[in-house]
Symmetry: C2
Subunit: 437 residues, 2 copies
């Protein structure tokens, strides 16, 4: 089939057959489709839509464009968690060792920071020596030994998705749910999982801010996961403020190790709550626990006993990192940063936080990347001092910028100030976990 004919069919509003979709994805993988043909089809898909059958078919074709991990020789149930991305969302760092400590094998393939959101790989690389580039053999060896492996997508996993994702980013075809679903699920299904828990963010810092769209995404993700016989569950969770205390790569690792050490500050509690809830869902899906209550208790015990920290320590050592950070998490913090407070502009209650803006600001001073090829500064970041609903007085500290220079901090201070809406009335309480799908 010529690419033109397939593009033409979608252009004219037809559903593509499984053969046409296979021909498209094969062509992307092999290079028989030129990038400009792929992007024309992506735009036609964006505007004319995909049916559920087509979404399933694209997901399958992208999955099959690469290797699927064979973890059949690992006895433990295999499960993973995937988040649609947020600001200060460091739960992966906690969930992987926590779930491992509870008896799950966690083959976690993660991404890097892009735009306003952070990325697990960048966070991990703030641990000296930590290697996120594992071959599939190394990945499996690490997973077998400590129950978790944390690495980047290899070129063997869903290569078609990688090309397509890069093109979508450059051609304004990212925010279309069936394409998002196919992209996420083709990668996650390649992990050879029994169960998958999805953390679908909603609110000002989420990739999709609108709640109804988020719900739609969550439903399509779980439906697709289940259509591939993987037990899938999605929680829609709040991203209308940064999660926990810190935003920034090393700072977020620090927060997680403090939690694993039983030294959590009160501001870190949401990080614990969300991580426990998502891990508990994994435990129920894999039938390690029968009820979510029992699963939550198991998680609390695995944190309190130090077993979670122990798994993380083993993992760091197996992936070449310096596990001394587990004993001295302060060593992750760069001493020479400028600490500049962001002050409240008036008296009142914090009624809204433009969380996208917070993520963007930290990205702007080096904490993230605007383009895939940018370098990340692991040290810089932000520390939240107040939460939604807190009462503040003019001049109170809303948060603290941790920047390389005063100039950097000044460049974003006003933006951050304005990211906080302060009103006269105490807002309704924001629940961290909205619903499960």
């Amino acid at each position: 089939m010529r690419p033109q004919e397939i593009i033409e069919r979608k252009r004219d509003g037809h559903a593509l057959s499984d053969d046409e979709i296979a021909s498209f994805i094969d062509g992307v993988t092999s290079g028989a489709w030129a990038d400009y043909q792929t992007s024309a089809l992506l735009m036609a898909i964006f505007l004319n839509g995909l049916t559920k059958r087509e979404t399933h078919s694209i997901t399958r074709a992208m999955l099959e464009s690469g290797a699927v991990m064979d973890l059949s020789d690992i006895d433990a149930p295999k499960a993973d968690k995937h988040s649609t991305g947020g600001v200060g969302d460091k739960t992966s760092l906690l969930i992987a060792p926590l779930a491992a400590a509870c008896g799950i094998a966690v083959p976690m393939v993660s991404g890097r920071a892009l735009g306003h959101t952070g990325g697990t790989l960048d966070k991990l690389e703030s641990i000296p020596g930590f290697n996120v580039r594992l071959s599939s053999t190394e990945f499996k060896r690490v997973l077998k030994k400590c129950g978790l492996a944390l690495a980047g997508q290899t070129s063997q996993i869903a290569p078609a998705d990688r090309k397509i994702y890069a093109l979508r980013d450059a051609t304004a075809t990212v925010p279309y749910i069936p394409l998002i679903v196919a992209s996420i699920m083709s990668k996650k299904l390649a992990e050879g999982l029994d169960a998958l828990v999805l953390d679908v963010k909603t609110g000002s810092g989420a990739f999709i801010a609108d709640y109804n769209e988020t719900l739609k995404l969550a439903k399509e993700l779980t439906a697709t996961g289940r259509s591939f016989k993987v037990k899938t569950r999605a929680l829609i969770t709040d991203m209308s403020q940064p999660l926990g205390k810190y935003v920034g790569n090393a700072l977020e690792v620090y927060e997680c190790i403090k939690i694993m050490r039983g030294e959590a500050e009160p501001a870190m509690q949401p990080t614990i709550d969300l991580s426990v809830e998502l891990t508990a869902e994994m435990l129920v899906l894999t039938k390690i626990d029968k009820t979510i209550q029992a699963a939550r208790s198991r998680c609390q015990r695995a944190l309190a006993s130090g077993e979670t920290l122990e798994r993380f320590r083993q993992n760091i050592e197996l992936q070449g990192g310096d596990s001394a950070v587990c004993d001295k998490p302060e060593s992750l913090l760069e001493k020479r940063l400028k600490k500049v407070p962001v002050n409240a502009l008036k008296n009142g209650y914090v009624t809204a936080i433009d969380t996208h803006c917070v993520g963007q600001c930290i990205g702007n001073i080096g904490g993230g990347r605007m383009k895939a090829e940018d370098k990340v500064d692991h040290a810089v970041g932000y520390s939240s001092s107040v939460k939604l609903g807190d009462r503040v007085r003019q001049g109170d500290e809303l948060g603290v910028i941790l920047a390389r220079t005063k100039t950097d901090a000044d460049a974003i201070n006003q933006l951050l100030q304005n990211a906080y809406t302060i009103g006269p009335k105490k807002p309704d309480t924001t629940s961290l976990i909205k619903t499960a799908v």
Copy 2:
């Protein structure tokens, strides 16, 4: 402006501003826009449309992406004819010298065969030595000396259009009227014309077969021409059967020279009629003649006097060709071709001819090209023996294939046979010229 933002606006159904369009076309010309971004925008344009203002703006931006000929030192009125492409449509070869003989300067920039349609440049190259690659200086020198110049688009003319056209061809975004209009008019307006006559084809061999769509195209073409202060007129003409007698490069040049020599066969009459009518429109638009009747008479005289042939001969010599073909047109015909008749399958009247199929068949045996980089065989082609409405008996000759080998001819014989619909009732007469816009 980032390409993504402009793509996003059109994706979401907004009209693009003149600045956004200029940024797009500049980006295409400079390479700042990647091909995959251009093709994504083209698909969004195809599906979400362009307003008249946007079409004008894209035409202007594409025109201004390149050089515009300065023909102000030529006293004669400057006019050209452009056809949307057909099968056996060789009128350019006749109109250029005919209009020149009538006092018009004809700076004709033409294209090559693609798909099922022929191209003037390929036809001209069947004249030994004829050079269609002229610099703008050479082009102007030839035009001044003989009143016509026939060449391909240089890289200086509407470079953005060239890139965009190639992408549209590969991404199923060709058949959208505003893009067709912008593509045609940006090139024609670069010729520095006073007047332009458009031959918009309709019927089974036309680029757009549907009459109402053809009418829409004709109206948008003339409106755009006039919005640039060029006197523009379009004739909608019949392409429901091959025009004149021959299809094929050298064969069509032969037909034109026979006509210029006053040796036309009856089957060639439609070629004369259409060429005269289009040239007459040019004469009226440029005010050389007041009425279309007077203009037609002038054309008939310029043909009968031999002045048209004389202009063609001068042009061939100025462009490096062997003008002996004017005296011995038979020398254009390759003697060693296999001549294989296509026979009628039954008795009756020819009620329809799939002219697109005829063009495609001749392309398939080498007379055209499927891809821009294919080579063309100038000698091969087809000779029509019957016209729409003719009565035939089973086994009668419908036409003759002129191929390199019997195998080539056999490969298309059945397709050609089936391209002729033969029915029991004599069909209504097809008028060559449908309407003027």
